[in-house]
């Protein structure tokens, strides 16, 4: 849950990038760190293990400036995607305000996407949050690989498999080139701030 400091007129909120292992969550944050320098308010912290895999989480603080008289600060996190880090994912998800679900467009990762989305749903449920109510945006990542003739799932199929019930905004993206990364984050921020505005009644 976001922290609203009424006296200082400051809001701290938390957005988590969730998704299966190797889907590009860290690459999203790395791109944001490089491309949105003006908004980045601190160093990016990345805790990686062998093979460039996220071990615990990545963390990137950004500032959005003043919104309705409040200074809005956002903490971006990624979770470790590998299946065995379930408890770490849950810990990172604590206090989440908005989620970007990064799905891997590679055909061979079809099942991993679904398992990860179920894992997200369960972890949110454990914190009494509903995947149907939390500000959530889908990102279909690695679309650039189509140019290299690597088998990808069509957007229609990904929508059917992952977003048919949720019906949340989705973005085609390539975190490595930055395509769709900014738009996806902006949408998630917009939904999150709208939701917080309703909950905290600021402004």
């Amino acid at each position: 849950m976001a922290i609203f400091n009424l006296k200082k007129r400051e809001i701290d909120c938390k957005i988590v990038y969730y998704g299966p292992g190797r889907c590009g969550k860290t690459t999203n944050l790395e791109y944001i760190y490089k491309a949105f320098k003006k908004q980045v308010s601190g160093e990016m912290v990345s805790i990686k293990t062998e093979g460039d895999r996220t071990l615990f989480f990545d963390f990137l603080p950004i500032g959005l400036g003043k919104l309705k008289g409040c200074d809005v600060r956002v903490q971006l996190y990624t979770v470790p995607g590998q299946v065995q880090y379930k408890s770490t994912r849950k810990l990172v998800l604590k206090g989440v305000d908005g989620v970007v679900f990064v799905a891997d467009s590679l055909k061979i990762r079809y099942e991993k996407n679904i398992l990860s989305l179920k894992d997200l749903q369960q972890n949110l449920k454990d914190y009494d949050l509903s995947i149907f109510k939390i500000p959530l945006v889908m990102q279909y990542n690695k679309r650039d690989l189509a140019e290299k003739n690597i088998p990808l799932m069509s957007i229609e199929k990904m929508e059917r498999d992952l977003n048919q019930q949720l019906k949340v905004p989705f973005f085609e993206a390539s975190a490595i080139t930055g395509q769709g990364v900014g738009a996806c984050l902006k949408k998630c921020l917009m939904l999150t701030l709208q939701s917080l505005h309703k909950q905290l009644k600021w402004g």
Partner: protein
Amino acid sequence: MDIKTQLKSLLQEAEIYRSQGLLDESKNRYNDAVELIQKNAQIKNKQNLLENIQKKINLVNNILSNIGKASTSPQLSSQVQNVIKNKFSFSDDQDSASLEGAIALAKFGQFESALKEFNELVKKKSVQIIAAKNIIRCYNALNLIDEAVVQYEKWLSSGLFPSEHLEKIRFFLENILERKGNKKILPHAPNVKESQDSIGNESYDSRFEDEEFLDISSITISLDKGPLKGKLVEFDVSFQSANIISVIIPEKDKKLIENLVIGATLNNIQFYSPIAIFKGNGVISAKTRIQSGPKKGNYRMDIKVVST
């Protein structure tokens, strides 16, 4: 698609998957390529191709092996530890927030730094017992349980804890020792008689937690399936680890043992705790035959409390 194009496509996929860190998938494609080469007599330079692919498979295997060997709790820099401490504490109250930060450090495997934090927190009355238990958990995680015993003995004479807190800590530590097969009897807190053993019922829980679960002393299960359908059975709780409770089923209750299978959901369990009686659901998470000791032959069943 002709063989050459098929092969090229498989190898390209394998390379891309390797560059993406999708190592199992990469290996599968290389193996598909090997199979394709072996099946087709018309491919030239077969041996060369197979050797080259094998080199790539070996490379993938090496990366996989290094990943397998990598530490899952490396020592993190103080900058990262500060992020963990500050960003994983959520309470407004300063002591509770510090406790959450210290617990987060422990959960991320930074036991030595966590120990420093907990050692400061045992001085704060509002969180001291949780901090003390977490000190014991840290020593346990570091395989230094003897240090925990030394620490308990220091606390006994420190005047830092009231006797009832010390007794809870003693029960907690004795449970951990017992689980490790260590029958050491720890000295009681001052002014506490040995017969007051029932004071604590402190459960063993190796996980780092900031919440104290309600102690459950017994349960009643209403059986809704199988030959014992409709029967009510009562168990005393022999151990409790957070939301997992353990009960003993006597060897003679064969039908009951057969009826209660791992994975089964138990609806409408009545939980009895010293301060409340409440209903809830649970899932049987384990059932094992006790191999030694006075309860040999009986079954130990673990129930995960999923909702109350």
